[in-house]
């Protein structure tokens, strides 16, 4: 217990739950239950040993934290990217700063689903894909169609202006 407590700060969430980094979502729950059976503070409650109790509590808090982050697909993706990077040592614990970034990522995802009319959203999304593949003329057409459903959507207009600028510069090159 003492040894585990000492190495805790150097362990990533996968190591804490004794999982491989490629573990499937169901495995995360199974591993959490297994670790709970071993390290749940209630197991040691009857022992009148404050030091042991503190240590178990420290370990178990990290187990719940690991589970909380890894069970969430978005958080997990972010975390895996973080600990695979050069700042691994600083990124072993998912922090609130990461959550801000995470929220921004979610917001961006949501923005791509922007729009009130389902058809408009559909055309907008197709247009985004076209734009990403630099099919500017097709993207322009799709955005214009999206705008027929929702003429005042600022996001659609903004994207259209952007695509039209690309179109113009493409023409110049030709």
């Amino acid at each position: 217990m003492e040894g585990l407590c000492r190495t805790l700060p150097q362990m990533d969430y996968f190591q804490i739950l004794r999982l491989s980094a490629t573990a499937a979502p169901e495995e995360i729950k199974t591993a959490f239950y297994k670790q709970s059976r071993g390290f749940h503070p209630d197991r040691f409650f009857h022992l009148n040993d404050p030091l042991l109790r503190t240590r178990v509590n420290e370990i178990y808090k990290r187990i719940t934290e690991a589970y909380y982050v890894l069970r969430d697909e978005t958080k997990r993706r972010k975390y895996v990217a973080d600990i695979g990077g050069p700042d691994r040592a600083q990124k072993l614990r998912f922090t609130e700063a990461d959550e801000v970034q995470n929220r921004q990522a979610v917001k961006k995802e949501r923005e791509e689903e922007v729009g009130l009319h389902p058809k408009g959203r559909q055309f907008f999304q197709t247009a985004l894909r076209d734009a990403a593949a630099e099919r500017w003329t097709v993207a322009e057409r799709n955005l214009k169609t999206a705008l027929t459903y929702e003429p005042s959507n600022p996001r659609y207009r903004e994207k259209l202006v952007e695509v039209q600028q690309h179109l113009k510069s493409d023409m110049k090159i030709r």
Binding site: R37, H40, D42, H46, T64, E96
Partner: protein
């Protein structure tokens, strides 16, 4: 030497219940008169003694100013909160302001804090258990609504200490009910606990994986309960009476209490028999000094129409819990009903309809929570503990930032225990103290959240602004109670932490209350 023993107490808004493990099974403890549930009611008698329980409840009308009930609605609240204002309008006892915006109850020129009142109920439960077991009991698990915030949990814990009990755990009521259902059953199921109590509504969704009880989500409404159903009947009766006789029964505290009593009885009758006769002879006199009776018949249909919106409100909360758990009603294997009002056919039928599944039979909704608490109490003292409970925090933990806004530190429905760190620094040269306000709630705005207190850190290295780096740790423990500590990041030295602006009791207050509590004799009356 006798074996250690710990009891489980369900400290309810209207009724409380106490259980203990015997021969491997939780058993509800009856008092000397065979009563298994006890009104959470405290009556201060002229001779200085205190009457608690069902006998005290009978004093609500005759000794209205010195009989306290529904204290749980006020525990851990600030004096300025809406709940306190509402209570002041309807409660016959005097609710006054104490220090730091706390609430006090004034009786016979003495002021009692809410933990002191609840302590008297807990002391009664302790006494009931001691008589039954024939030995002293000093340890207990006490349950609270899952949606209780830190202030309310802390105050409940203080109540336990004042009553002379070591509180092994503050356990969430729906979680306790799920324990009572699942322990020893060896199942892998997802269950929902629908807990409609006297004053609060909670819903928790749990996954039981044999011996691990994982709460997936919890949601609640601490302003919704059986009392609100009574209120609807009261309003209906009083409006009707006013139309007939031109007198408003609500204007007189005595009439109001009579009205409350018949309304509660009518609710129970209408649930059991499909209709209720209401008769309250001589409730008041008119201006010509004629004695008037209150008479009415309430049918199930009328009653259902009156309370339908309250029932619907519970399902808004259920929607929220399912969404947080990322489940739909079809994913659930069982529905557990808890709390007296869930006996009402309108509630049972609506629950069946909503979850597309009938609730489990054979569970006593008044007793299951205390039985679960007894199971947990036993598990904590037992060496061979084989139940592992993972609960969640019901509310997001936040810290105050500039301009009256807050920043989220720990999200709601995060499994506990958990901690999270954040580094703070000084904003002025030579600054010696750093203050942080901690809140619980779901709003960005501080004034829409519940303030837990202001934490002040000092004893770190003083330097230029931005130089000192103070690592603050926010911890939520297995009781759902928040602990804040800080250390100087450079030296690792723990800083001194003082809490202010909190409505809670100080250590000195608690010790004084313990003394006072011991000196209050328990009144003895035949039931």
């Amino acid at each position: 030497m006798s074996e250690e023993i710990a009891i489980g107490i369900d400290l309810g808004t209207s009724y409380s219940c106490v259980s203990v493990m015997q021969n491997g099974k939780p058993v509800v403890i009856p008092n000397e008169w065979g009563e298994e549930t006890h009104a959470s009611c405290v009556s201060f008698l002229e001779d200085g003694s205190v009457l608690v329980g069902n006998a005290a409840k009978r004093n609500i009308i005759t000794r209205a100013e010195s009989t306290v009930y529904s204290a749980k609605r006020l525990i851990g609240r600030y004096y300025f909160s809406d709940e306190v204002k509402k209570a002041q309008a309807v409660m016959p006892y005097r609710i006054v302001e104490g220090s730091n915006n706390s609430v006090r109850i004034s009786i016979h020129d003495r002021q009692y804090s809410l933990p002191e009142i609840s302590a008297l109920v807990l002391k009664e439960m302790k006494a009931v258990a001691e008589v039954y077991l024939g030995r002293e009991v000093t340890q207990a698990v006490v349950t609270v609504p899952a949606y209780f915030n830190d202030n309310q949990r802390q105050a409940t814990k203080d109540a336990g200490r004042i009553a002379g009990l070591e509180i092994l755990r503050i356990l969430n009521e729906p979680t306790a009910a799920a324990l009572a259902y699942g322990v020893g059953r060896d199942v892998n199921q997802k269950v929902v606990v629908y807990d409609l109590g006297g004053g609060t509504f909670d819903v928790s969704i749990l996954e039981i994986g044999r011996d691990v009880f994982e709460v997936l989500s919890t949601a609640g409404d601490t302003y919704l309960g059986g009392d609100d159903f009574d209120d609807r009947i009261m309003t209906w009766l009083a409006d009707d009476f006013q139309a007939k006789h031109g007198l408003d029964l609500r204007q007189n505290r005595y009439c109001l209490q009579m009205l409350k009593e018949v309304s509660e009885k009518a609710k129970i009758d209408v649930g059991m028999k499909g209709s209720a006769q209401i008769l309250c002879e001589g409730i008041c006199q008119d201006t010509a000094r004629r004695v008037l009776d209150l008479k009415a018949i309430i049918t199930a249909e009328t009653f259902n129409r009156m309370v339908m919106d309250l029932v619907q409100r519970t399902f808004k909360v259920c929607d929220e819990a399912l969404q947080s758990a990322r489940l739909t009603a079809a994913d659930l294997d069982a529905v557990i009903l808890v709390g007296g009002p869930t006996r009402l056919p309108i509630v049972r039928n609506s629950v069946t309809h909503y979850f597309q599944k009938g609730p489990l039979e054979g569970i006593n909704p008044d007793q299951v929570v205390s039985m679960g608490a007894a199971l947990q109490a036993h598990a904590l003292l037992d060496e061979a503990t084989s139940t592992f409970l993972v609960d969640v925090t019901p509310l997001s933990l936040r810290i105050g930032t500039v301009g009256g806004y807050t920043e989220k530190i720990i999200d709601k429905n995060t499994p506990v225990p958990i901690d999270k760190g954040k580094t703070f620094t000084t904003s002025r040269d030579g600054q010696e103290k750093v203050k942080i306000r901690v809140y619980q709630g779901e709003s960005n705005r501080a004034d829409e959240c519940e303030m837990l207190g202001e934490f002040e850190f000092s004893g770190f290295r003083v330097g230029f602004r931005g130089e000192a780096r103070i690592a603050v740790t926010f911890e939520i423990d297995t009781n759902g109670i928040v602990n804040v500590s800080a250390a100087d990041l450079e030296t690792g030295q723990r800083t001194t932490t003082t809490i202010s602006l909190s409505s809670g009791l100080s250590e000195a207050d608690i010790q004084r209350s313990q003394q006072a509590n011991r000196s209050l004799p328990r009144a003895r009356t035949a039931s």
